[in-house]
Symmetry: C2
């Protein structure tokens, strides 16, 4: 069998070949929209090969009219477009201390793309939601075994009604103007703007409206915050909303730059809409200066920022970036530890060497 | 050109192919002597191909009789054997926060091997040290460019006389009973027991006795402790002695184990001779229990240790190991931060999942 990772863009850093997990080197996080072949991949099982002609979307459960929508029919429903960032819940977990469980993402599990498809609420309205509807369960075609779970399972996640009915919660069939690539969920995936990527289920197999809270391995055992000393006798909080965060794409860790003006740049985003400010420190966090931020093209996209550093003294430096959103949330020095290192939005720190001018 | 890493044992984790840098997965750190093909590799430049028949060792500088010793003649000098651990100064740097410069070693840059050769002091005595002798400079055949240095340079390190004259400081031509493998320094390398690996210069090209302190890129700019906020206006302390340290080889990070008796095992060592105790904590560092330690076969080798954990309650755990040497030095929770993350001997912490018995 060929591994999923065999034809992945070699610019990406492959953390796992099957299931395919691959991140973007930080220096490539420098564009408002990430091209499809540079968009990070976080799969849980081998990529299912789905033939759109033989595929359809069943919508069942707490609805008046169960549906079964073909790929063609989906495309004829009202089109909705969203420019949205997705970030893996485990992004930036590599540096967490004490060490955590999970693939050691550095910071490359994030990207913004233009998504097009049908609002999930459009489909739910056509099916007719019953008043008993409590959650919407989205199941993927991808299946396999997971350590800590018994037998085969499909990847599946549910959304509370408020999130499911938001017009920007999408059933997407296009990514940056092209049909979804196989590794990104062809023929149809969810895109849940403002939440970590784990609910943006790929290769959708079915949608079920539930009258109860879903219990499933990925949702209630895996993508949860397990605190230190957890005894497992009560449920752990689910990972949902993105946190305010910034990353430095230039310079990169360990980069040598020449004394003089050095451009520090990167990206910032939040699960709560636009960024208010990005501050830069080059003196071990003693003082902070504001960077220039590009306006937000969408409430769900990242925003490029830039700062000119007068790096006149050669030496070893730590460059830090700290974003604050309009709600007032700001990046912490350290994230609250959890067993799988989810949702790490600690201030990004990059060691840089300033060399004398030749 | 073929990359150095092309024929490396695939069991190792390759951090760089040229220069070749490869570490051992932690689960393989479970043997008193590491086999040659599982011994970590930390090179700085491409591997020089040296023909022993055309090679000889010049010994010059502050000596009465400069020498030039052939490979055959070296083997006829009194043979000395040392079982010694080498550890890369950058080992375990990956988890350090704030992030550091350098290749992101996890913990696999360490190994113990049996080395045989000639004591450096034997050679120095034959040459006749002058009273002006202050340091012994060992230069390697490996050469290339380094960021932060200008032009081509050879790898080179000096030893103070006390270390150079210690009978266990070796010019080694054998590793575990075989001629040195190419990636480990054929035909001749230094082995400096008790110090980090960076002074155990490989592919020795020459030995010079100096009447002054050596200044060289690797010794005085690279393998030094650069503290946070260093301004570069005074020299930084050199990295030398190994620190007391333990690593857990089983279970590994993120391992699922079944409730009941779980064997926790690993290795411990110190630059200061034997280990006094290794303590294990499975309750977030609240309490510590002593592990059983195997006796030390050499003052320079690691010592295997083992502890039986009664893991009766399923859940998520952090397992910690903490070694203390006979001098009383013990592992800290966190190492003093330095720019390249050298000499990290923080307590090893491994997240483990205990599953119910089936």
């Amino acid at each position: 069998m060929t591994a999923d990772g065999d034809c992945i863009n070699p610019e990406l850093t492959t953390l796992s070949r099957t299931p395919l997990v691959a991140g973007v080197p930080l220096n490539l996080l420098n564009t408002e929209v990430m091209s499809n072949d540079r968009f990070y991949v976080r799969n849980h099982f081998p990529i299912p090969k789905v033939d759109a002609a033989n595929w359809s979307l069943p919508v069942s459960g707490e609805v008046d009219t169960p549906l079964n929508i073909s790929y063609q029919d989906l495309k004829e429903l009202p089109r909705h477009e969203v420019l949205a960032l997705l970030e893996c819940a485990g992004n930036s977990r590599a540096g967490i201390q004490p060490p955590i469980e999970g693939l050691l993402w550095d910071h490359g599990g994030v990207g913004t793309a233009g998504w097009a498809g049908v609002s999930l609420c459009t489909v739910l309205e056509r099916a007719g939601l019953r008043s008993t509807a409590k959650e919407v369960l989205i199941e993927g075609c991808d299946e396999g075994e997971e350590r800590g779970a018994s037998g085969k399972l499909n990847y599946a996640m549910s959304l509370p009604m408020e999130k499911a009915l938001h017009p920007d919660t999408l059933l997407a069939y296009e990514m940056n103007g092209e049909p979804l690539p196989g590794e990104h969920g062809f023929p149809l995936r969810a895109v849940v703007p403002g939440w970590f990527g784990m609910t943006s289920v790929k290769w959708i197999k079915s949608i079920q409206v539930l009258d109860h809270a879903f219990v499933g391995y990925h949702q209630t055992s895996y993508y949860v915050f397990v605190p230190e000393g957890a005894t497992g006798d009560r449920p752990n909080e689910r990972v949902t909303s993105l946190r305010v965060k910034s990353l430095i794409s230039h310079p990169v860790r360990g980069q040598y730059v020449t004394a003089g003006r050095v451009t520090i740049e990167g990206m910032a985003w939040s699960g709560n809409g636009p960024i208010d400010k990005v501050e830069i420190s080059t003196d071990d966090g003693k003082s902070w200066q504001e960077a220039q931020i590009s306006p937000s093209p969408s409430p769900y996209a990242w925003q490029p920022w830039k700062y000119t550093w007068e790096a006149n003294s050669p030496g070893n430096y730590l460059v830090r970036s700290r974003a604050t959103d309009l709600k007032g949330d700001t990046q912490p020095v350290q994230t609250l530890w959890n067993f799988r290192g989810f949702a790490n939005n600690a201030i990004h720190v990059v060691p840089v060497i300033v060399q004398p001018m030749p």
